[in-house]
Amino acid sequence: MPYGETTTKPHVLMVTDATELDRKDRIDLLATKPRSRRGLVVAINEGPLKEAASHRSGDTYKKASEMLHRGRQSLDVALDANAPTVIDMAAFDPIEQGVVGDLLGLDMVNVVVDGSSCSCDPSDCPRRRAWNQLSSPEVRSRVAEVVKLAQLQQQDWLFREVWDLVADLALGGSCDEDPPTSTWFWRLFYGDTSLSHAIAQAVSPGTKALPGVDAHLYYADWAAEGLRLLDGVDFISLSKPDLRTARHQWLRLQVFLLGEQHDPAARVIGEHEGSFLQAAYRLDLTTLLAGINSYMTFGLQAPARTQLDLWTSHQVERRTDLTAGLVRLGNAPAADFAIGKSHVVLNHPNTGLGIEGSGRFLVHHKSSSSLDLTHDILSLLQTGRSRRISDRAHADLDWHLLRFFDSVLTTEAHESEIEVTLFNFDRLTAETRGYRVSDSPPLIEANQ
């Protein structure tokens, strides 16, 4: 039942936009509960939610707001029967969930493509013929995987942008151009949407070598083994592929995307082998922890892979360079960490919904600490730490990491051991010294 109507029958009240209500109405919405109401669904923006949460009677909103923030940082939210279930639509990432594949399989979209105006014969229309390739679930799944690669360029994508892409794949371009720009596989990379631009940048299909394929395409050897696509998917040929580079590229895209022996997404990810971007993408914890450990020691020490070293620096004054040493107050085993994605559904009894957002975090559940693994942070980690304080991006990352370590140290600090690592930048070496400190009797001795 929509908000504003009344009934004595059992019902679920739907408030489609609580942002439009004033603060009092938002509070009253939860304060009064008619017997016939079986449930309440409220769609609300975060600003009004915070406003309602700050009201003294806004406990439910407050709980929702707190859960939202914890979930967004990938921190666990304990099930609370007295708190609402929260669905964070802003955290939901349609790309991550492979929504593009689902949309491309919708009958509605097929009808739109069939009904699109075109100057060519429908039975030989490149747009329609190419669209038939998408009837294969395997093809749609590959497309969804390739679209996910846009996250290598930009982390957050909106539903609107996904719909723009689907609309462009279905109706964009023209069959009259040479080669036809109306086919979905062309538009996936060279369409007019921000998402296709990001995919093209991330994948750069023109630079991908396809050994044994190019020659067959050039000589129009359509029966060649190397040009075989996935089961049940027809290869769409063009005459005289040697005439124009664009025609060659048009044909090549089909093999690259749908070739039986190819996996475009895995190939692009594989190119980032060993990178922290790939580690975060594949949720590879040990590579990431080793990367952070190595970053902190300027790469001068072999990094631990099974634990995160928790450092502190007592340098307060801004000088031109960093101090040549760090203090290690503890370390936390890798088992206590996880690379998590932001949660979309919170406080729901069914924990196995598996709906996650795009944001990735290094999470230490014991201390409820999380480090946002943004592209900026990952690429800075990859670059290596800078000694110069004028490298502000690195100085800020240092600050970020030390804050995270400080937070983890609340549960992982050494009780009576202090370790100091000294860097020698002339010889490019680092040396760690450990000392035990005991209270009774008062004694400081070196670790063996």
Partner: protein
């Protein structure tokens, strides 16, 4: 020659203007200010000498019985131990063979060799006047180390018993008695709150000490920047003072950026206002001193200087007499004294050098004109001091709060029309657009630094960098 000798002497106005920039402003560093602060609060500790010997006098053997014989007896081990402790206790490199300050993990490390140009004790007086419980809070902060506090243990093992450190007597009135001055003092004192956040806050001693050190230094800098003007003008609101526009983008900012230029102009305006205020205070002091008409021309300077500045030392008075010469008009005497005490460029250089040590002024080096800015740790300090742990506040409300508390302009403002305050520095249209862009640049920086959260509906809230522990 006389002019350079008199430059920055504090003895002339110290009793009237707190936080005066002194002649040794280059020495004012966070570790020295914290040492001075703790020394004023609890007095120096004799064991600080042993720490200095350990860290900076390799020819002497430190008299610290708790260091294992295996370390003390092996010169190589001892040298390595000295280096390691240097990283823990002397990261700012402000400890010298003859004096200086360390990172005080224990009150026993507080030294009597004060190199803070008097800032530490003044910060203590200000903070103590605004927070009666400060003394016991610091005492308990440095008390027995809690479980897992290895730095606290290290401090107590190196320095032994600190029970003799008792709080000293301190002032009970804020340093400025005007309406805004008293409020400003309270707000400045709140910059220490992140170090003592009761509801959890920073759990580790090192982080809390960093917060304490940054807080003390920020108080010193923000106080010295405004002290003369507040003392002289006795303002009621920030609009009575020169406007302090702070560059909100990534420091230090490009030289041709309009926001950078406005920040530089604002810096120059604030400095000029301080100098004018100091001159006016000198004039008032000199005019108050009546000089008999029969005083010979050659004796005028002697009489007027001795009468107006009785607390100044004989040497300083002599230097002042030389600077004044045979001038017989109070205004002219004040001009000459102001020129000698605060020559052109002295305050600019001083504020810049002091501010850059915490990232509140810059650029660090080069030919760029000085300006106010906020490096990320300084930004975090401001948000920690203004947003309670675990809470958040709307970004624009926060900007208003920062202006009302510290007089810092970062955006157009909601409750105060900051464009009008800066109108004399540039054309109003330009100022409006600079303020909007500055606000947006700061917002983006804070979101990236995790100091603010951006919501899907365009709302941004500033969050406390401190964690709340439930």
């Amino acid at each position: 020659m006389t002019v350079s000798k008199l430059r920055g002497r504090r003895s002339f106005l110290r009793n009237q203007v707190p936080f005066l920039l002194g002649r040794n402003y280059d020495r004012v560093a966070p570790s020295h200010v914290l040492n001075g602060f703790l020394c004023a609060a609890f007095g120096p500790n004799p064991s600080a000498k042993n720490i200095r010997v350990l860290l900076r006098n390799p020819d002497l053997l430190p008299e610290i019985p708790s260091i294992a014989a295996s370390i003390l007896e092996d010169p190589q081990h001892l040298s390595r131990f000295r280096q390691a402790m240097g990283v823990v206790l002397n990261a700012d490199r402000r400890l010298f063979p003859s004096g200086g300050s360390v990172f005080p993990v224990s009150l026993g490390m507080v030294s009597q060799h004060l190199m803070d140009d008097g800032f530490g004790s003044e910060v203590w007086e200000l903070a103590c006047a605004c927070d009666r419980n400060l003394s016991p809070r610091i005492r308990s902060f440095f008390g027995a180390p809690i479980h897992g506090d290895v730095l606290g243990q290290l401090g107590s093992v190196l320095c032994g018993d600190i029970s003799a450190c008792d709080p000293k007597h301190s002032r009970t009135k804020p340093p400025w008695d005007s309406e805004l001055g008293a409020t400003y003092a309270r707000k400045l004192a709140a910059l220490l709150s992140p170090a003592f956040a009761e509801a959890g806050g920073f759990a580790m001693r090192s982080s809390r000490l960093i917060a304490l050190s940054s807080g003390c230094f920020a108080i010193g800098f923000l106080a010295t920047l405004r002290s003369a003007e507040i003392t002289h003008r006795r303002p009621k609101t920030w609009s009575d003072l020169s406007p302090m526009f702070v560059f909100g983008g990534m420091p230090p900012g490009r030289a041709n950026d309009p926001a950078t230029r406005l920040a530089s102009k604002s810096f120059a305006t604030v400095v000029a206002a301080q100098r004018d205020a100091l001159r006016e205070i000198l004039v008032k002091r000199l005019k108050r001193r009546r000089v008999p008409a029969s005083t010979p021309k050659t004796q005028y300077a002697r009489v007027v200087v001795a009468g107006a500045f009785p607390d100044a030392s004989d040497k300083d008075q002599e230097l002042a007499r030389d600077a004044v010469g045979r001038v017989q008009d109070a205004e002219k005497v004040a001009d000459r004294l102001a020129d000698a005490l605060y020559p052109a460029g002295f305050l600019d250089r001083g504020f810049r050098r002091v501010g850059r040590k915490l990232g509140l002024a810059g650029p660090d080096r080069g030919f760029g004109s000085p300006r106010f800015l906020l490096e990320t740790p300084a930004l975090a300090l401001l948000s920690a001091a203004t947003v309670p742990p675990g809470n958040s506040i709307g970004f624009r409300d926060w900007l208003d709060e920062i202006f009302l508390r510290f007089g810092i302009i970062l955006g157009p403002g909601q409750r105060t029309d900051c464009t009008a305050l800066l109108a004399h520095l540039d054309t109003p249209g330009v100022v409006t657009s600079i303020l909007r862009e500055n606000q947006e640049a700061l917002r983006r920086r804070m979101v990236r630094a995790g100091l603010a959260m951006e919501y899907s509906d365009g709302e941004t809230e500033v969050v406390s960098p401190e964690r709340r522990t439930d």
